[in-house]
């Protein structure tokens, strides 16, 4: 994929924007209250029109409108992903900058911690932490945020090492700037590109993690909708009510695919070496 905005990239960006709009404007777009149950309306197929209105994507096992729930589910996915990526980006970048700038024992300490964290399966660590802290939105964000920072640290560390030896950083030292100022004003902006690429790919992964943990009952708690928990509940009805798993699953698939393709495109833009292809 080239770095220019081709029709394909435009489509990608439009789809991503659509997901964001769906998440932000869910209260306006949703035709029904996603939590209102009605046992008389259980497991209606997509397109059912009744006196209450049209259920475009059908209803779930408690008679709730699936379209409304999927729209609100986008909210959960994007909010968890955005917040947890922010937390890990912040923590990881800070540690990477410190390690790369001061080198010596701070770097050894931080980078060995990174190696340790990266050697533990992320999903296992997340499951364990949620099991201890208890499930819920905030805990989910913290768990994902605080287990995923080593990726950023690695990139920030390597980039800082590289940038710290460039003449303009030496010039800033010669001009008497403090280490903090040099790190924030000169190093950080110059390593931001690769970090944003990592953040994007991590964003897709965080969406999957949220869905996975919610599927396992460790994430967003019922009755609040998340794609993972909707699919989890729909699993038992997969033979009778395919829509319960197919629609949230398709949304998840398309969103993560878009995010990852966007990440690839971003990487090509940031890395001039892959741009020439």
């Amino acid at each position: 994929m080239s770095g220019r905005i081709t029709p394909g990239v435009a489509l990608l960006l439009a789809l991503l924007a659509a997901f964001v709009v769906a998440a932000v404007a869910a209260p306006i777009l949703a035709p029904f209250d996603p939590l209102r149950q009605s046992l008389l309306l259980r497991l209606r197929p997509p397109g059912t029109t009744l006196a209450a209105g049209t259920f475009l994507l059908g209803t779930d096992d408690l008679g709730r409108d699936l379209l409304s729930r999927v729209l609100y589910g986008a909210r959960a996915s994007l909010a968890v992903a955005a917040l947890s990526v922010s937390v890990s980006l912040l923590v990881g970048t800070l540690l990477g900058l410190l390690a790369g700038w001061f080198r010596g024992w701070p770097a050894i300490l931080i980078m060995r911690l990174v190696d340790t964290m990266l050697s533990i399966p992320a999903i296992l660590l997340a499951v364990l932490t949620v099991a201890v802290l208890g499930p819920g939105f905030l805990n989910l964000v913290l768990v994902l945020g605080l287990t995923r920072w080593p990726r950023y640290t690695r990139v920030a560390y390597a980039q800082t090492l590289q940038v710290a030896n460039l003449p303009y950083i030496r010039a800033a030292e010669m001009a008497g700037s403090s280490a903090l100022r040099i790190l924030l004003r000169h190093v950080l902006p110059n390593i931001a590109g690769p970090l944003m690429v990592v953040a994007t790919t991590e964003f897709g992964l965080m969406i999957l993690f949220e869905a996975g943990l919610s599927f396992l009952g460790l994430g967003i708690q019922p009755p609040f909708p998340s794609w993972g928990s909707i699919m989890s509940a729909g699993r038992q009805y997969v033979a009778r009510a395919w829509w319960l798993t197919v629609f949230p699953g398709a949304c998840l698939f398309v969103l993560v695919l878009c995010v990852n393709l966007f990440g690839d495109w971003l990487r090509d833009r940031v890395d001039p070496r892959s741009q020439s292809r």
Partner: protein, 317 residues
């Protein structure tokens, strides 16, 4: 005589056991341009970095005192030293384009030397850019380094270095990466600013042409030691160290017969591991005798305010 702006005494630097800079000393008066000349690797850049107290980690300072005006700065704590950098003691170097942060505007970088933002210091920055000969400073101030030519970038570096009115400017090969026309312009600029602002300039270079252009005095370095110092005209007219003499002889001249062989200094600079007890130039010196290989010639006065580190200074021609 006025008090010198910068005095360096007995500066010695080592990488492991090898003394790469050995007992170097010099002084510069306000408004004076001193050229520190020598081949690559002779320790001239390290000398400048030692004055700034920003030596690479592998280099150890063995001895040396640095005085800035009346103040001894070699023992200052790092915090105080940082306050001096960019304010009373500035440095510029090669590759002007790489020495500017690609993601910060010209104005931001010049203002940073004042510890201010562009918004706060805009008139001052604008004036400084004008002083270093940047045309259309109102536009340039908001541009990024990639929009500027190499010569323009070096002007911006000079503006950054001089905006806070330092007493001393260390210029490490400031024109090496530039083409000759721009080089002459930048040298003229440095010369003019030094005189106008009474800034002492230590110009590090390997180019005798640059020296002749702007330096008041010259210190010739060879393999980590000062070989000879003195006023520029005197040294060019009659060198008192065989190394200087050979260096001057190796400058190609327009009057040379076309296609004739260029003059070279036979042999090569000894590596720090090969330094013996004697004169470090002895191995390549046409005047060297047995004594030269055994004893280090001290810097001694050879008249007209000149010093030479050669036992045979009087025989050099």
């Amino acid at each position: 005589m006025t008090q010198p702006a910068l005095v360096v005494e007995d500066l010695s630097l080592a990488i492991g056991p090898a003394q790469v800079v050995d007992g170097v000393g010099f002084s510069v008066a306000p408004g004076e341009v001193l050229a520190l000349v020598g081949e690559s690797g002779c320790g001239k850049s390290l000398t400048a970095q030692a004055v700034m107290r920003l030596l690479p980690a592998a280099i150890r300072q063995v001895s040396g005192r640095v005085r800035l005006g009346a103040e001894e700065i070699s023992a200052l704590p790092e915090r105080r030293m940082r306050e001096l950098r960019g304010r009373r003691l500035s440095m510029i170097f090669q590759e002007p384009q790489a020495a500017l942060d690609p993601l910060a505007t010209v104005g931001t970088q010049v203002a940073e030397a004042l510890r201010l933002s562009v918004a706060q210091a805009r008139p001052q920055v604008r004036k400084m850019l004008e002083d270093v000969g940047i045309s259309d400073p109102d536009r340039r101030i908001d541009q990024y380094p990639f929009e500027l030519s190499g010569g323009m970038c070096q002007r911006v570096m000079i503006a950054t270095a001089l905006i806070s009115g330092p007493a001393v400017l260390l210029a490490d090969e400031p024109t090496t990466a530039l083409d000759v026309t721009i080089q002459a312009q930048i040298l003229d600029l440095l010369r003019r600013l030094a005189t106008e602002r009474q800034t002492a300039v230590v110009l590090i270079t390997h180019d005798m042409g640059v020296v002749a252009d702007i330096a008041d005095r010259v210190a010739v370095m060879y393999a980590g030691r000062i070989a000879e110092t003195g006023p520029t005209e005197a040294i060019f007219a009659a060198p008192r160290h065989p190394y200087t003499a050979l260096l001057l002889a190796s400058i190609p001249r327009l009057s040379d017969v076309p296609k004739s062989k260029l003059a070279v200094i036979e042999g090569r600079v000894p590596t720090p591991a090969e330094f013996g007890p004697g004169c470090r130039f002895a191995g390549r010196c046409p005047l060297a005798d047995a004594h030269c290989a055994e004893a280090t010639p001290p810097l001694r006065s050879v008249g007209d305010g000149r010093l030479s580190a050669c036992f045979h200074a009087e025989r050099v021609r």
